[in-house]
């Protein structure tokens, strides 16, 4: 149980500035995911927290106590930070058995032999690999090695567990299983977890909070569903969500307490309570609407909110069907639940919910209007 505070962390490799003034607080018991494309600084941040990398600037507090203070060149040793790390490569020692791998840290702590045995068994049982304790790592499958690596990390009962892309070397099915496993582990152990991944599904499904990185900077820290519904700029909106969000160009104009938005889907007015705190330009300005593929339904019959579109291509996939449609020069990708067949160039009716749309200022790329779900969630 640990609260981590990163304050103004700067890190360079030579002249390469890899972390720009990172400020992040990880509350006790959080499952914080550091998310971003490769090379964005998320693994470096994790390694800074672990003590394996030293930043050149900033302060880090663990439970309010200094673990890093660059102004004093003070860096607490990794082993004194009460944490453990699962490496992407697992980093299992190939010349030790599973048991010895897990027992290594306990032996260094000079735990009595009997207690070591109990603790190791306990950790192995928890990861359901008790029967492999005498094997060597290269005699195990990838998924089993993964479990050993996690068992090794939790055996020392760390207050903080760091996971560096632990699932990236597993196949798709094992990955889904391990996600469930990790989520349970987090609940059962109650430890704070920092989890690094470039896979947004992992981030969205497991975390209590996500820190989205971009080019060594933190670009958004939010709860998973808030991040999904209201990415704070166009790039984040594009990164989060699969299939990806649709962007539609439009014109916006602030008229008193209303934001008027015109685009190929129609003309919408949004009240002030949906707006973000961004400065709004005066007069008409370019905007971009963010529309998630599942926010538009194909309607059977014409109604108030329906507009006409032409099917470009349909992609049924069993549980869902993706449909590409054209509306007034814009191309939209829609996601429908269930199986449905659409002919090429068929005309369909789209039922839209304008309140759900995000609106971005095209010039600043910032979010200027929340999706209405957010408001509901808040109230």
């Amino acid at each position: 149980m640990s609260k981590i505070e990163l304050i103004h962390i700067d890190k360079y490799y030579g002249t390469n500035h890899v972390l720009h003034d990172v400020n992040l607080t990880i509350e006790d018991g959080d499952f914080m995911t550091l998310l971003g494309p490769s090379g964005c600084g998320k693994t470096t941040t994790l390694r800074v927290v672990s003590g394996l990398e030293r930043p050149q600037g900033g302060v880090m507090l663990i439970n309010g106590k200094k673990a890093i203070d660059c102004d004093e060149a003070f860096y607490l040793e990794p082993s004194k930070r009460g944490l453990n790390l699962v490496f992407q490569s697992y980093a299992l020692w190939p010349h030790m058995t599973v048991f010895d791998n897990v027992a290594f840290g306990l032996k260094i702590k000079k735990m009595p032999a009997e207690e070591i045995r109990k603790t190791v068994r306990n950790a192995l049982e928890r990861m359901r690999i008790g029967e492999f304790e005498k094997r060597y790592p290269n005699e195990l499958s990838g998924g089993q090695q993964q479990r050993v690596a996690i068992a090794r990390a939790i055996a020392s009962s760390p207050e903080l567990l760091l996971l560096d892309e632990p699932l990236s070397n597993l196949d798709a099915k094992l990955r889904t299983d391990m996600r469930a496993e990790l989520k349970r582990l987090h609940k059962e152990l109650g430890t704070t977890i920092i989890y690094v991944t470039h896979d947004q599904v992992e981030a969205l499904t497991m975390s209590t909070k996500i820190a989205l990185f971009e080019n060594g900077k933190l670009s958004q820290v939010d709860k998973p569903m808030d991040l999904y519904l209201n990415p704070n700029n166009l790039r984040n909106a594009d990164f989060i969500g699969n299939p990806r969000i649709n962007f539609i160009n439009g014109k916006a104009c602030i008229k008193g307490d209303m934001m008027n938005v015109k685009c190929s889907l129609g003309e919408f007015n949004y009240p002030k309570e949906d707006w973000t705190n961004e400065d709004m330009p005066a007069g008409e300005f370019d905007c971009v609407l963010g529309v998630r593929p599942e926010q538009i339904k194909i309607a059977e019959e014409p109604a108030d909110n329906t507009i006409t579109a032409t099917v470009y291509a349909g992609q049924p996939a069993g549980s869902e069907t993706l449909v590409t449609v054209h509306v007034g020069g814009d191309e939209l990708l829609l996601k429908q639940i269930g199986i449905a067949e659409y002919d090429i160039d068929q005309e369909v009716l789209l039922k839209i919910k304008p309140d759900r749309f995000n609106v971005y200022n095209k010039e600043t790329t910032r979010l200027i209007k929340y999706s209405r779900n957010k408001k509901k969630a808040k109230e």
Binding site: D10, G57, P78, N84, A91, F104, G105, R152
Partner: protein, 610 residues
């Protein structure tokens, strides 16, 4: 903003200082750097300086022109003597020409030979490849000076009174064939072609045969494919091996001395040895510097021109299947021709060499009345000839003291070298991209640039005097050991780096997080995992030291002789049977070590340096 205005803080300074001093890794790096500079950079600089400082030996000569000259003055006397003196032609320019001639011909014969063989073995459907490959590789295991002994066993003429095999058959072997450039070039070709063979066959293996098949689908003929696809892809490897062969053959001593000195055919290396042993050592050092400049110049050229393009290796597929080029009806004639070539180039000379050890008179046939075991186990009183001054080698105390020296040098030298190699490998692999990693890598590479005999000259110049607390090491076993270890640093540390690169830093980091100290990590993670690499590095260095002649010859005194040197001087004293017997012992020792290392570690002899 924050980074510009950091206040000065004693606490920060204290923490930074403690951090550096209490980290054992930093201390190891520091000590290694100091030792490397002392053992590699300093000797080179000191030798260079020596050549500009007047020594007592030449004082009177210099005083003839400059009466007030003192010992220790700056002087260009030595360089002038070597390069512009009356004897400059005999002392320098003729040996230089000889060295260049030898290096040039060795390169233009050995490289195409090795490359052609590599193509046949890797890319063609030649029958009997297994045996041919073995036949091609064995010569590489034989020390080059052993080859020159075998050459003498076959081609020696009556000069010196002990005829070789062909002379014994009644053929009159002229001096130009028995000794001198042709003999030297052929012996070195038979040694260095294997070098090209190893590099080019490695490169050929890495080429995905799909690249060639694509050419075939486009309708190219086999010759066209060879010329326009295969050859350009292996060209970097071919050029590289050409330059390595050139730089190595410029500085070779053993072969050139064994086959050249009898008719006073000098190369730079042998002339330099002459100067250091019997003339002005300082002039010899000047020659050593020139030799180093030439040898290292070619290697630098290699790095500058080819180094960057070597990245062709990335083309290599995963090996997978590779289709062979059909030689058609030429397969069997080529195989037979190769077989005969290998038999005559390798096995016949070796056979004659071995047989000579059983002969009473060389070149007098293998009749029962000319056969004896005297050369191996005879006592002095049973000597079958008048001119023999020694008992059989197994009764000769000189042999046993040399054997002991060889074994001790080989074992102690290779243990120390392999250990240092792992340590240096650890530093370079963990310091990748950091200044100290690069510095260690570059320092360690320097001995590679120097011909062995020139390297020995440097050590002689440095350690034959007292330096601070270190006494003069002249004539001691220590100096031989020291030179041997340092000369093998490049090779050992390369193998050590490869070993250490395989041990992912994450394995250490995982232990670090678990709370293991540096020493604990070294003991429980790094050393157990590096064991295999250490062993194969050890065995390869072991073999290389056992073969060594060029490096140690300058250090030899009666009490520090090794087998290779003993064989060399017996050969000089025209005792070919004894000399041969000793080379056979060395040969067996080396071959046995190869087989052992192959069985023990699967180590590839291709990694060993000739």
């Amino acid at each position: 903003m924050a980074e510009n205005k950091k206040p000065f803080s004693w606490k920060k300074l204290k923490n930074q200082f403690l951090d550096i001093v209490t980290n054992p890794f930093n201390m190891i790096v520091f000590i290694s750097l100091v030792l490397l500079i002392f053992l590699i950079a300093v000797p080179l600089i000191r030798m260079l300086r020596t050549t500009f400082v007047l020594a007592a030996g030449e004082l009177r000569r210099v005083q003839k022109t400059t009466p007030d000259a003192q010992v220790g003055d700056f002087t260009l006397y030595y360089w002038k003597y070597l390069l512009t003196g009356k004897l400059a032609k005999a002392n320098f320019f003729t040996p230089l020409l000889h060295s260049l001639t030898i290096a040039f011909f060795v390169t233009i014969v050995a490289v195409p030979l090795g490359a052609g063989l590599a193509w046949l073995m890797v890319r063609s459907d030649l029958p009997g490849k297994r045996w041919l490959t073995l036949g091609i590789m064995i010569p590489y295991m034989i020390p080059s000076w052993c080859k020159s002994m075998a050459w003498l066993a076959v081609f020696r003429n009556n000069r010196g009174g002990s005829p070789g095999f062909l002379q014994g058959l009644g053929l009159d072997i002229p001096d130009w064939l028995a000794y001198g450039p042709i003999a030297i070039i052929l012996c070195m070709v038979l040694h260095y072609y294997a070098f090209t063979y190893i590099m080019v066959s490695g490169s050929l293996r890495s080429i995905n045969s799909e690249l060639e098949e694509m050419g075939e689908i486009q309708g190219a003929s086999k010759v066209y494919i060879l010329r326009s696809i295969t050859l350009p892809l292996v060209m970097p490897a071919v050029l590289s091996s050409a330059i390595m062969t050139l730089s190595k053959s410029i500085g070779t001593y053993g072969v050139a001395a064994n086959l050249g000195l009898r008719i006073s055919y000098y190369t730079l290396a042998t002339k330099m040895h002459d100067f250091i042993n019997t003339g002005s050592a300082t002039v010899g050092y000047c020659m050593a510097i020139l030799l180093i400049l030439m040898a290292s110049g070619t290697i630098w050229a290699n790095q500058a021109f080819i180094g960057t393009r070597k990245s062709y290796e990335t083309i290599g597929g995963k090996g997978g299947h590779s289709t062979m080029m059909k030689l058609g009806s030429a397969r069997y004639p080529i195989m037979v021709f190769l077989g005969i070539f290998l038999i005559f180039a390798m096995f016949v000379p070796m056979f004659i060499l071995v047989m000579e050890t059983f002969q009473i008179r060389t070149g007098a046939g293998y009749g029962p009345d000319n056969l004896t075991l005297y050369n191996w186990i005879g006592d002095m009183k049973d000597a079958p000839r008048d001119m023999v001054n020694y008992p059989g080698i197994f009764k000769n105390p000189e042999f046993f003291s040399s054997l002991k020296n060889t074994v001790v040098l080989t074992i102690v030298g290779s243990v120390i070298t392999a250990f240092c190699g792992c340590l240096l490998g650890y530093i370079t692999s963990r310091g990748r991209g950091k200044w100290y990693g690069k510095l260690v890598e570059q320092l360690v590479f320097i001995p590679y640039l120097m011909p062995a005999v020139a390297f020995a000259a440097i050590y002689l110049a440095m350690f034959s005097r007292k330096i601070g607390p270190i006494p003069s090491l002249y004539g001691t076993f220590t100096i031989i050991l020291l030179a041997t270890v340092v000369k093998h640093f490049p090779f050992a540390s390369r193998s050590g780096t490869a070993t250490m690169m395989q041990i992912s830093t994450e394995l250490e980091e995982a232990a670090d997080i678990a709370g293991a100290s540096f020493w604990k990590r070294l003991g429980t993670i790094v050393i157990p995992l590096a064991k295999g690499g250490f062993l194969s590095g050890f065995l390869l260095v072991f073999i290389s030291i056992a073969k060594e002649l060029d490096l140690i010859i300058l250090f030899m005194t009666p009490s520090t002789r090794t087998l290779s040197y003993l064989s060399f001087i017996y050969s000089k004293e025209v005792l070919p049977q004894m000399a041969d017997a000793i080379s056979v012992v060395v040969l067996i020792f080396v071959l046995f070590s190869y087989i052992l290392s192959n069985l023990a570690t699967g180590a590839d002899i291709g990694k060993s340096w000739g």
